[in-house]
């Protein structure tokens, strides 16, 4: 039994203990194997895994309701009108606790800074004032509708509408639209906006406000999938992202990282993902080409591409003369011009060793990159496989007496397969940055086991379907699917635990 099996076993036992309190003691028989296994399965389901995080998916309606609830709450506590409570909350980026605390300390300062004047006697409404001249359009009509915020700066209805429409429609501004007067920092509140603009603009304004509600809130994030309108709530602060990979799943089935918004990248932590992507963008193609087409000068390590001519090379930079074939110094080639037979001479071997060393880090990167890219590519192919599988499922319903529900095992298998490929892909980015120690061996064992299982499942799914063998195939696929899923769990669990315990050492600074 290998190391990771032990870990698996251990985590089973842990869960036993966790459950003991909840389970009926009488049912629990320690030395009965089957019973033990049975409890384990239940326990494994109930227990929250280390690599999983709690999250809630909110629809637009939910987001609106949440905002309303918070606004009402604050408005009740502080005894101010709802539109003012909303402005304050937006100023404090929806950090209710901090707002209330600061408000209790010094309400005047908080109100000033947030641009709110609470004057309950003054609710925004249009009034006609004889002799009024609007400072903006210079209109002085007798029956001009005018509007002023609590700061008292009064302008005509028309100008207000133009101004707000410009801000909302053209500039996409919503939560910080200031009074039109110069140097006045009073915010135009929700009620005033509703009063002054037409229905379309108001709708746009609400949408923008909802957007900022999610954007401003540390624990909310929009699902990044195209045209998906759900937002995820997850209480993992940015500061924990070096020890947790908070993968969440939207109701639209898109799986992504709550920390950075990137598609699910377990087990790699966000900062490594960022570094890796940047590295790949900068380096991978170039590195591949360099590796395939160039050699290095034995003296100054300049990268040299030989695009013609003979084997007698002279480095442009340091003028070192060497042989392209054996990499040894040219001076030792004596009279055997243009026909190198010195491959095994000591100086040549040394020169090539030198070369090999300097190329090792490049090779190391390519090793991880190629595997990373391979799984990415395979995942794409798996999407094609998914279509094939659908066809296969139809076939199975026709050729056997299996019903739709019974052939769902194939769909499930493909789902798991794609998910595992994603995980595997990111294990290579993770491994690239890992510093080698005993822990890395465990990690690599887990990685290898998952990879083998994934390839086996993949192969199984590509087999042609024969009517008489369907039952057998189903059994095999089912078994493999469960096994692959569990290998993924083992790997993720161990990595996540390691991150929490700071067990992994990285070659780069993950705090920066």
């Amino acid at each position: 039994m290998s190391d990771e099996d032990l870990t698996f076993e251990d985590s089973y036992r842990d869960s036993d203990e966790d459950v003991e309190d909840v389970e009926d003691e009488d049912d629990y028989v320690d030395d009965d194997d089957t019973d033990l296994n049975f409890t384990d399965v239940v326990a494994e389901k109930d227990r929250k895994k280390n690599y999983e995080v709690d999250f809630i998916v909110h629809s637009i309606e939910g987001i609106v309701k949440n905002q309303d609830d918070e606004v009402t709450h604050v408005s009740n506590i502080l005894g101010i009108q709802k539109q003012h409570a909303a402005t304050l909350l937006r100023h404090f980026r929806w950090n209710k606790e901090r707002l209330i605390e600061r408000y209790m300390e010094d309400s005047t300062e908080v109100l000033n800074k947030a641009g709110v004047i609470t004057d309950n006697a003054r609710t925004p409404k249009f009034i006609k004032i004889p002799g009024f001249i609007c400072d903006i359009c210079c209109d002085d009509d007798e029956d001009l509708d005018t509007l002023a915020l609590s700061c008292g700066h009064r302008f005509c209805k028309n100008c207000y509408e133009h101004y707000l429409t410009q801000k909302i429609k053209e500039e996409g501004e919503s939560r910080r639209i200031l009074c039109m007067a110069s140097k006045c920092n009073v915010i135009v509140d929700e009620k005033t906006v509703e009063l002054a603009v037409n229905k379309d603009i108001h709708e746009r304004y609400r949408t923008l406000l909802n957007r900022t509600y999610v954007d401003d809130n540390e624990y909310l994030r929009w699902c990044p999938a195209p045209s998906c309108e759900y937002a995820i709530e997850c209480h993992v602060p940015q500061t924990s992202l070096t020890s947790i990979v908070p993968t969440v799943e939207c109701v639209c089935t898109h799986r992504f990282c709550f920390g950075c918004g990137f598609p699910d990248h377990q087990p790699s932590i966000c900062v490594l993902v960022k570094k890796w992507i940047k590295k790949c963008e900068d380096d991978s193609e170039t590195a591949n080409w360099i590796s395939a087409h160039t050699k290095e000068c034995g003296k100054c390590h300049s990268t040299i591409e030989k695009n013609g001519g003979c084997n007698h090379m002279t480095c442009r930079k340091c003028k070192y003369e060497f042989c392209w074939v054996c990499m040894g110094p040219w001076s030792e080639h004596g009279t055997s011009w243009y026909n190198c037979n010195r491959y095994d001479e000591k100086t040549s071997i040394d020169a090539r060793d030198q070369q090999a060393k300097s190329r090792a880090s490049l090779e190391r990167y390519l090793h991880y990159y190629n595997r990373f890219a391979n799984h990415e590519q395979s995942a794409k192919l798996d999407r094609e496989l998914y279509n094939k599988t659908e066809k296969k499922m139809e076939e199975m319903q026709q050729t056997s007496d299996l019903s739709w529900i019974e052939v769902q095992f194939l769909k499930k298998a493909v789902d798991i397969l794609v998910q595992c490929r994603m995980t595997l892909k990111w294990t290579y980015a993770f491994a690239f940055y890992l510093a080698r120690n005993n822990q890395t061996d465990i990690f690599e064992d887990n990685q290898r086991d998952l990879e083998m299982a994934v390839e086996q499942l993949s192969e199984l799914l590509e087999k042609p379907i024969e009517a008489e063998k369907i039952a057998e195939l189903k059994q095999q696929v089912l078994d493999k699917t469960v096994y692959v899923g569990s290998r993924r769990e083992v790997l993720l669990e161990d990595t996540a635990k390691g991150l929490l315990e700071s067990r992994w050492e990285f070659q780069v600074d993950i705090k920066s």
Binding site: D135, I136, C137, C138, D139, F155, N158, C159, H162, Y163, Q166, K167, E170, L178, M180, A181, S182, K183, C184
Partner: protein, 148 residues
């Protein structure tokens, strides 16, 4: 929107012509797209005796949106004025308010010149002039000198 735009600019123009502020004169206002005004250096300041030309360009969203204001021709040497004529003044950008006008902008610029104690270009002038867009409104200004 254009009704407001033309009404407002005609009123401003009439006001500037009937009741011009000291040292400020409209020289060219044939369209509502762009105006030219001259600005005289105030006596007793570093710019006394000098005359500068300001160009105002208006978008149809004026006065909800700020006008584009640059010096043309003879450009004053001032720590907040770049040699391409761009002016670093917050009311022209993020502190713009629709109640501000051509008159108030000219007065702000005049007072900015008057309070200057040392005629020198902005420290980053060369770099800025090389990289700046044609319109100063496309520059992300940061305002760090509150003394003017």
């Amino acid at each position: 929107m254009s009704a407001l735009f033309t009404k407002r600019l005609s009123k401003e123009l009439v006001d500037l012509k009937i009741n011009p502020p000291v040292g400020i004169e409209v020289t060219e206002a044939d369209t509502f797209k762009s105006w030219k005004l001259t600005l005289d250096g105030v006596d007793g300041t570093l710019y006394a005796g000098e005359r500068f030309t300001l160009e105002f360009r208006f978008s149809p969203n004026y006065p909800m949106e700020s006008p584009e204001v640059v010096f043309t021709g003879n450009i004053p040497i001032h720590p907040h004025i770049y040699s391409n004529g761009h002016i670093c003044l917050n009311v022209l950008y993020n502190q713009w308010s629709p109640v501000l006008s051509v008159r108030s902008v000219c007065l702000s610029i005049q007072s900015m010149l008057s309070s200057c104690t040392c005629k020198e270009p902005p420290p980053d002038n060369n770099h800025y002039v090389k990289t700046a867009k044609a319109s100063p409104k496309q520059t992300q200004w940061s305002f760090h000198d509150d003394s003017v």
